[in-house]
Homo-oligomer: 235 residues x 4
Amino acid sequence: MADALDTHRDRGDVAPAPETESTHERILDVAERLFARKGFAGTAVRDIAREAALTAPSLYNHFDGKQALYEAVLARGVQPLVDLIDAYGSADGSADGSADGSAEATAEAKAAARDPRTGDFLDRIVDHLAAHPDIAKLIQHESLMGGASLSRIVHGWLRPIVSAGLGAMEKNRESVWNEEERPLAVAAWIHVIVGHFASAPLLEELFQVDPLSPEQLERQKRFLRRFAGIMMSSD
Amino acid sequence: MADALDTHRDRGDVAPAPETESTHERILDVAERLFARKGFAGTAVRDIAREAALTAPSLYNHFDGKQALYEAVLARGVQPLVDLIDAYGSADGSADGSADGSAEATAEAKAAARDPRTGDFLDRIVDHLAAHPDIAKLIQHESLMGGASLSRIVHGWLRPIVSAGLGAMEKNRESVWNEEERPLAVAAWIHVIVGHFASAPLLEELFQVDPLSPEQLERQKRFLRRFAGIMMSSD
Amino acid sequence: MADALDTHRDRGDVAPAPETESTHERILDVAERLFARKGFAGTAVRDIAREAALTAPSLYNHFDGKQALYEAVLARGVQPLVDLIDAYGSADGSADGSADGSAEATAEAKAAARDPRTGDFLDRIVDHLAAHPDIAKLIQHESLMGGASLSRIVHGWLRPIVSAGLGAMEKNRESVWNEEERPLAVAAWIHVIVGHFASAPLLEELFQVDPLSPEQLERQKRFLRRFAGIMMSSD
Amino acid sequence: MADALDTHRDRGDVAPAPETESTHERILDVAERLFARKGFAGTAVRDIAREAALTAPSLYNHFDGKQALYEAVLARGVQPLVDLIDAYGSADGSADGSADGSAEATAEAKAAARDPRTGDFLDRIVDHLAAHPDIAKLIQHESLMGGASLSRIVHGWLRPIVSAGLGAMEKNRESVWNEEERPLAVAAWIHVIVGHFASAPLLEELFQVDPLSPEQLERQKRFLRRFAGIMMSSD
DNA sequence: GATGAATGAGGATTCATTCAT
DNA sequence: AATGAATGAATCCTCATTCAT
């Protein structure tokens, strides 16, 4: 996934400094927004360029094409999530691509489940998605279509989280969920977390409230904490 | 929504009879699959035509264009869900478009919540989505982008269900969810139901199991019944 | 090579009937002319389309792209030459792709060399190139760049002729050319035949006479007959 | 032609000294190779720049554009040939652009024909083309397309040679070629000399031998000497 | 109902070139 | 002398749609 990041060169990354934002970063911002809204096929390179205040050919000085730009957007959005995983799972290889069966929790995952930091961990993920709601949409787009990028997302980010979640459930002998239900419970959990951001237009239409407004985000965070409790608690 | 339905003619709808399937229906089937996979913009009319064994111009003998075809696909997929609502909510106007506030449950909804048929009701919705997993994807696409079709889906189908769900929660004074959490709980519920089908590629990559296989669908139905219980029960 | 021919469908081929010329054929004619003049890279699809009296997209209803069109042009131009070979080499396999060494003449080639029809044979080749001077240019373009098409030209058309030529020389024990010179003599012969048509602009500039005018073509045919005599005769 | 030469600066020309090769010369070398292979239109300035280890804009510090670079390449390649002419035809104006009819040999040309140095003269031309096989290809490209550069090549270099050749034939009353054949014989001669280098890819495909290898070049030189003898000798 | 041919609009991308640094 | 960024023009090609047959 790291390779997908540096489509052209390193990004400063440390101090975004919005007003001095580099063209490179500006393109990524615009592309993230448009790809999230209209999907890959529905987004015209020229539109990205226009909103980034340059012409389409100029964009090719920064990215090697539409696909490369898309992947750079995805990488930039997902990388922090991967980093979160790495930060918590330091010194263990739980994030590797080894095909651990769905119901099998690795030792590291079990450890993570017992880890009191798990709460913070989830909070940060939600915070990141809240701060970058468009990447939830990007993930949804990928989830709908399947593809190489989805594979990277799953292996780099979701699988470790899932392992942790499954581990936490398995350790808890009085969990509400039996063995066959646990993966579905984890999946449900993912749907709820991602769905709030990805399906924002639907929720807005449904409840006539902007789900991404600060108040609603606060509510959702409170809700998710309780929801997590219910999902993982014993009966 | 009715107008979106009869793009050209009545649908047989009752007995698909695959071998005698009309060209009209065949086009809808192919279009549903492709629109679900690649979205509206990512699907070429010519591809739909080819997979339906005709040429693109011929397709225009059956539908008035790409947009009309898309809406016909959406209508055909969503209509049975609307019908389900109508069947349960007969003789009352709970399915109309009146903007009842999100936290306000109509009297009818309360009644529906108490209705022991509610369990069957949910089962049938899940059954329909299971039988037509592509329409879950279509709904997700709409949810991501917003738009007129989404509006119709929300008002014609989701809102009545949501009203019923909210009503059920409200009636239950010991519900786990307080007033501000209830809409979010309902939303979570939607995410879980739709997500299982819409994000099938992600789940398959994650758990290495086809979420749409008969066994997995059965599991999911069992899971959803328990999940519904938890979500709506008292603490 | 045959596969390169039917880029889309069979060509009537028998009666060109210039005034009733099909669009397909008209495109090929224009493309042949432009590709010959400016090469593949220097020719714009839009220019071909314009001169064929349609728009560029329409051209794609007849050919699968610029490359396919180019190959169709080449195939149409070279095929008659291959057919000539086949007609003379009927019932023998001298035209196959077997890698006979440069100095080795097959039995068939020797026979062909003795064949009094060889003179006619050459005449017809010259006649064809005279009638379609552009394909000589196309062959030159290919000769300059190398590539898959060149390979087909060489194996389908040139090699059999070369084998025949080498055979004729080898049979003639008093040939002016010794064994090491023979391939070069054959090559020279090719250069002279093709060059007259391919380098027409140069010759015109040089001699202030149009090499493709009827009189000049007649002269060239007389010259080539004498040239062939000299090249293949004994000292 | 002189104007085309000094596109920017003098050329060292005498001792290429590959390791100390100037950027200017390095660009010319790369451009010569690429233009020869893919023609003017098929060669991208950026590709030339890349292979010369700089960026496209930097190239503009050395040449005034693609066209100017092309002409500089052509000039550098053809100039030595012109110089050869000048050296042999010193003090006469046979190289001027006056349109002497094709069959008319100037007095100077006659003189040149009798000149015993003519053999050396041809040898040097072949040597130059052998040393710079790419310029034969460039000449071929020009011959195919016609154009201003071709005109310069013809008038500056070919015409004098041709005049000499025609003169030699005319003087020789027993020449194999009658008056109408002589220009064609000269043309044939040009095709043979240039063709060996320009059509190298074709010859390689045909004979499975690299025509530019030292041994093959030696053979070709021996062959050309005999060929010249035959072409210009009496019967 | 079906289709081949045609097309305007638009899509991604390449290219030669300029310019500030 | 070199380059990163920018761009207008042009490239090949796709797409949804129309229409005569």
